[in-house]
Each structure stands twice: as C-alpha cells, then as structure tokens.
C-alpha cells in the first residue's frame, strides 16, 4: 500500500490475505486517477451532465431557525450515493474489470450501483439480505430494470451486514474480473479515503454556496451517520474551518435499550468488515443486531474516519430516535414541501433541536436523499 490507511488508531485493511492484492490494485488505480486530468474531466462531466451537479442549497422558509439544506435528494438516483458510484465505476473501467458487485440494505446503494452498471456496461450483482429483499421489493425491481442481478442472502441476520459479508466472500474468489463497489466510507483501506474523496464535492459545493448565499460559513454542519459517507463528504471541506461538525446516529427506540444503530455513542473499538473502528458488539466481540426505522443507518459499524473525528473531538456525535426522525420528516414535508429520506430526517431532527436552542445560528444540513423509498413506510407509521 502507498498510503497508510489510518485515521489516528482507526482504519487499516483487515481482510483475508487473498484480498490484499485487490486492495493494492484499487489503491494504485485510485491514486493514479487522482493525478490524471482525463479522469477528473470524465467524472466531472458525468457528475454535471448525467447526475445533475451542482445540487442546490435551499434556505428553509418555514422551519424554525436558520436552516440550509444541501439538496442531494435532487441528485440522479435520489441520493448522494450516485457521486461515488460514478467515481468507483470509472476506476473499475480503468482497472479493466468487467463485473461489479455491491451490498445494499434498503436498496439505495444497490440502485446506484445498478445505475452505473447500466451506464458503463458492467455485469452487476447486488447482495441483499432476504429480509431487506422482502421489505424493499420496489427497489429490487428498480435494480432488475437496470439489468442488475439481486442475490438474496439467507445467512446471519439477513440484512446489510450479512450482505457485506457475502460481497467480501464473492470478491475473495472473483477479484481478477470484479470490482467490489462498496457503498460507504467504511471497510478496508482504500475505501474510506476513496469514498470520502468522491463525496467531498458535497461539502465543497455547500461551502461555496453558503459563502455566496449567507456571506459567511455556517455555525454548524449536521449530517446523519450510518456508514458515514454522506457525513464525511459534507464535513471534509469544513474540517479546517471554525465550524461545528455534528454527526447524527440512529438512536432507534432509544439509546438506553439495544434497539438502535448508534455505533459511535454506544459501541466500542473493534474490527468489522475490514477496518478498526467503533463497533456494536457484546463482551465476547460478537457483532450486535441493530435497529433503526431507516435501513441506511441500521449498521453495527461506522467509517473509521468518524471514529477518529469523535476521539479527536473535532466532530460531535449525537442521536435522533425513530420518533424524532419521523417528526422531522413530517415537519419538512409540511413546512417546506420536501419529502426527505428517513436517514436525512435524523440530521434534520437534530438541526431542529439546535435551531430551537440557538435561533440565530446558521445550520447547514445534509439532505442526503429523497423520501420516495420511505413513503409507504411513512404511511404505515404516521397514519
């Protein structure tokens, strides 16, 4: 490896030896591409003319306080995921791979991978827990419409974590022809660094837009954290600024019980899916089952850079419960006419608390995805 792949004590590449050459090849391709103007030009062209960048920054008119929304919900595919699947898709091409594999929970990353598979001409296989396949039938059909094959996973808890296990197993046998298009800023090096760099555009645009619209930087930047790709992308260009960075985890049914996905708030140091980070686990090191109303935050580990930002004190991490997220989802719909993803509603829920305490603060919220995928669930929960 050319980079050390660590964020303080966290990160690394904890994978079976057989996968190390595949990670080294990926790191090499990523670093070479960073120095290649032709790569940047192709990626920026796709981001602008295919995906619809830049996305708008919207100042809320009716919600309390002074809240600005970075509108990744308006990106093609419906979430920030598209930014980085385009980047990784082009890298896979550079490496001469012909097949993409990916994991998905609710289906958003699976859909994003199916998009890039169709666009760039890859055979695409998506691993998805059987429970999630059942819950997200419409997204499964979306992926299939774009030519991807969805493989239901029966093992373990039959959700996102098990889909990642299965994708890693596939990759152990297939890396010569296959790129594992990991969906978040977690996993072994170089994924956390690479995904951050491909998502950095979110914060870079938002920072410039804040300066343009408000004339200054925001007081706080708030984003939801599951694996952490949308948050790290939004935070990255604000790290050196005097701006509060706040990550919002899924507090589920409450942080006092076991039904949450608050890895940084309730987990401890461990190694899962290739990286040392915070992990929700029992005293023997067995990985815990998690819960969140939003499938995208229902994950027992977190990207290693967030673990470091927490321990170094540069970012703060808080929780929002299912109920708080649903209330924020409803408030945004009623107040601003925007249906956001349940994941993004966690960030908004905390921003609303902050706005109440500090009405004069300018708060930038990462609205990471649109809510279409959650409408049926919202109907059941809010009716």
């Amino acid at each position: 490896m050319r980079l050390n792949g660590r964020f303080g004590r966290f990160g690394g590449a904890y994978v079976p030896e057989i996968l190390v050459p595949a990670l080294e090849q990926l790191e090499g391709a990523f670093l070479d591409a960073q120095d290649d103007p032709a790569f940047a030009s192709e990626l920026n062209g796709l981001l602008a003319n295919y995906a619809g960048r830049p996305t708008p920054l919207t100042q809320c008119r009716n919600l309390p306080g002074n809240i600005y929304l970075k509108r990744e919900d308006l990106l093609h595919g419906g979430a920030h995921k598209t930014n980085q699947v385009l980047g990784q898709g082009l890298l896979a091409k550079r490496m001469g791979k012909t097949r993409l594999i990916a994991e998905t929970g609710a289906g958003q990353h699976g859909v994003a991978t199916a998009i890039v598979g169709a666009l760039l001409g890859f055979e695409t296989v998506i691993y998805m827990g059987t429970d999630d396949v059942e819950r997200q039938k419409l997204n499964v059909f979306r992926m299939e419409l774009m030519g991807a094959k969805v493989v239901p996973i029966e093992s373990g808890g039959r959700t996102l974590k098990d889909a990642i296990n299965e994708a890693l197993r596939d990759w152990s046998a297939s890396f010569e022809t296959t790129h594992y298009l990991l969906g978040t800023a977690a996993g072994p090096h170089p994924f956390p660094t690479m995904v951050r760099e491909f998502q950095r555009i979110v914060g870079r645009e938002a920072r410039a837009q804040m300066l343009e619209q408000l004339g200054r930087l925001p007081d706080a930047v708030v984003a939801c954290v599951g694996g952490g790709s949308n948050a790290i992308g939004l935070f990255a260009d604000f790290i050196e600024d005097d701006v509060r960075l706040i990550g919002v985890e899924a507090a589920g049914k409450g942080l006092d019980g076991a039904d949450h996905g608050a890895t940084l708030l309730r987990g401890s140091a461990g190694i899962l899916h290739g990286a040392e980070s915070y992990v929700l686990q029992d005293s023997d090191g067995q990985i815990a089952d998690t819960w969140s109303v939003s499938a995208g935050l229902d994950y027992p580990a977190v990207g290693p850079e967030h673990a470091h930002l927490k321990d170094s004190g540069r970012a703060e991490y808080v929780g929002a419960t299912d109920a708080e997220a649903l209330a924020a989802f409803k408030a945004l719909a009623e107040g601003e006419g925007i249906l956001c993803a349940f994941e993004s509603a966690h960030a908004l829920a905390h921003a609303l608390k902050l706005a109440e305490a500090e009405p004069d603060s300018a708060i930038l919220v990462g609205l990471s995805g649109r809510g279409d995928k959650d409408v049926a669930q919202a109907q059941a929960l809010l009716a």
Partner: protein
C-alpha cells in the same frame, strides 16, 4: 521444542505428511464438539485447528459459517472454548492445537493470547488479519508464548511472502487459489507457492481450503507441502452424523503415500 516441531520431526522420520483436522468449538454444542476433537485424534489427526465462532466470518464458506452460527445459537462463549481446550490438552498432551478465529474476537478480550496459552494452545491464525496488519498481533502472541500462523496465498507478491515467512512460526497456511473455506481446488495445488515459501525461509507449508478427499491430500503433498488441513468436509460430515473418525482415517492414510519421493 514446540509441539509442532516435534510433530513435523516425527512425521518426517516416517515420511508422512501432517494431517490437520478442523473442528468448530461449540458446534452444535460444547459436549458434542469435545467428543469430536477426540474422534478426529482417534482417526489419526496429527494436529488440530479449532474455530472459535464469530458472528461475521467473512473468510468462511457456507459450511463453516453455519457451524459458527450453530455454536453461537447454542450459547458458546469464548471462555467456554478455552475451558474445553484446557481439558483437551489434559487428555492429549502432545497434539498441537491451533486456534482459527477473527480479529474482533481477539480484540474484545484483553489477555486473549495469555488465556489461549494457559489453555495449552500452540498457535493462532486470525482470518482477517493479513500480513500487512499482523506485526502487533504476532508480537503479542509471541510474548504470550503462542506461535503465529499466517495465510500465504498464491497471488501474494514476493514482498508479502517474505513478510509472511518472517512472521509465521508454527507453520504456513497455504491457499492455492482464490476463494473462501470449502472452495474446491479441483485437485490443483500450487507447487510454485511452496517453492517460493521455501526460498523465503517460511516454516512448514501446509495446504488448506478444498481438501476433502484422499486424492486432494495426495495432490497437495505432491507439491512438497508438509501437510494438509481439512475443515469443511469434517464439519459437514459431523453435521450429517457421519463417522468422522473413519473420514479422518481415510484422509490420514493418504498422507502416508509417496511424500518422501515428492519432497526430493
């Protein structure tokens, strides 16, 4: 002399390859897996690999995954595994025993290496710690008196093989081709990997992954490897209620054929 050294020396004198049997501790319960350890030794296993179950075993195929899940569902704890191993060591003072598990299990228990050593364990292989990340783990093992075992894959570049050779102590766990446990190598074992490891000064190379029949054992040993480890086939046979002692006996018999000729 370590138990591994004594075993390899004894087998070399008899021109035999080592036969390693893998058992998942706690599968389907502690008592049954205790009996299974005795059964594979009775069948002639020269060394044991024991799995401490982990909830998310990414290097394992469906058979070993299912075994880990059964063990965890039955409530197997890491401390139970150490107790079971300590009792095994009491019954079988000479059989080398190595643990195969995952990094999070090791990290979660301060003193894991010391507890393993106290239970009479000889070596530790951590499936998701490649040689790049292995240095601090290997140091902790050696301080506790446990020998590190690393996996050498056929696709590893020379620099990685040199690192693996330097860090591995008990033996080198060789993987011929890409994939996870239970992957059938179709009788193909890479003799070039064995030569490269020998050139790098690695400890005794032993092939794992895809050993389920006597012809696999013969093919693996014909590369110059010093032994084989059979995992999924034993776990599968035990889960089906088949005679595991007999299976081990038939595979062990294949280690007695022509090893001397192949090595020279």
């Amino acid at each position: 002399m370590s138990r591994y050294e004594a075993m390899f020396e004894r087998l070399a004198a008899r021109e035999e390859g080592a036969f390693g049997a893998f058992v998942m501790l706690g599968d389907p319960d502690l008592a049954t897996s205790t009996r299974l350890l005795d059964a594979v030794v009775e069948g002639g296993a020269d060394m044991l690999e024991v799995g401490i179950p982990f909830s998310d075993p990414v290097a394992d195929g469906p058979i070993i995954q299912a075994a880990a899940q059964r063990a965890l569902a039955a409530g197997a704890k890491v401390s139970d595994c150490f107790d079971l191993l300590a009792r095994f060591r009491h019954r079988h003072p000479k059989v080398p025993v190595g643990i195969l598990t995952y990094a999070n299990i090791v990290m979660a228990r301060p003193g894991f290496m010391r507890d393993a050593a106290d239970a009479g364990v000889d070596s530790l292989l951590i499936g998701d710690v490649p040689s790049l990340e292995a240095e601090p783990f290997a140091r902790a093992m050696e301080q506790a008196g446990i020998e590190p075992v690393l996996i050498a894959a056929a696709n590893a570049p020379d620099a990685a093989l040199r690192r693996i050779a330097r860090l591995s102590k008990a033996y080198t766990y060789c993987v011929s081709r890409a994939g996870i446990t239970g992957t059938h190598a179709g009788g193909q074992f890479d003799s070039q990997l064995i030569r490269r490891l020998q050139a790098a000064g690695a400890p005794a190379p032993v092939f794992g992954f895809g050993i389920s029949r006597p012809e696999h054992v013969r093919a693996a040993l014909s590369t110059g490897a010093k032994g084989v480890i059979c995992g999924s086939a034993i776990v599968d046979a035990a889960a089906r209620g088949e005679d595991v002692t007999e299976l081990v006996r038939s595979l062990k018999a294949a280690t007695r054929e022509r090893l001397g000729a192949a090595m020279n």
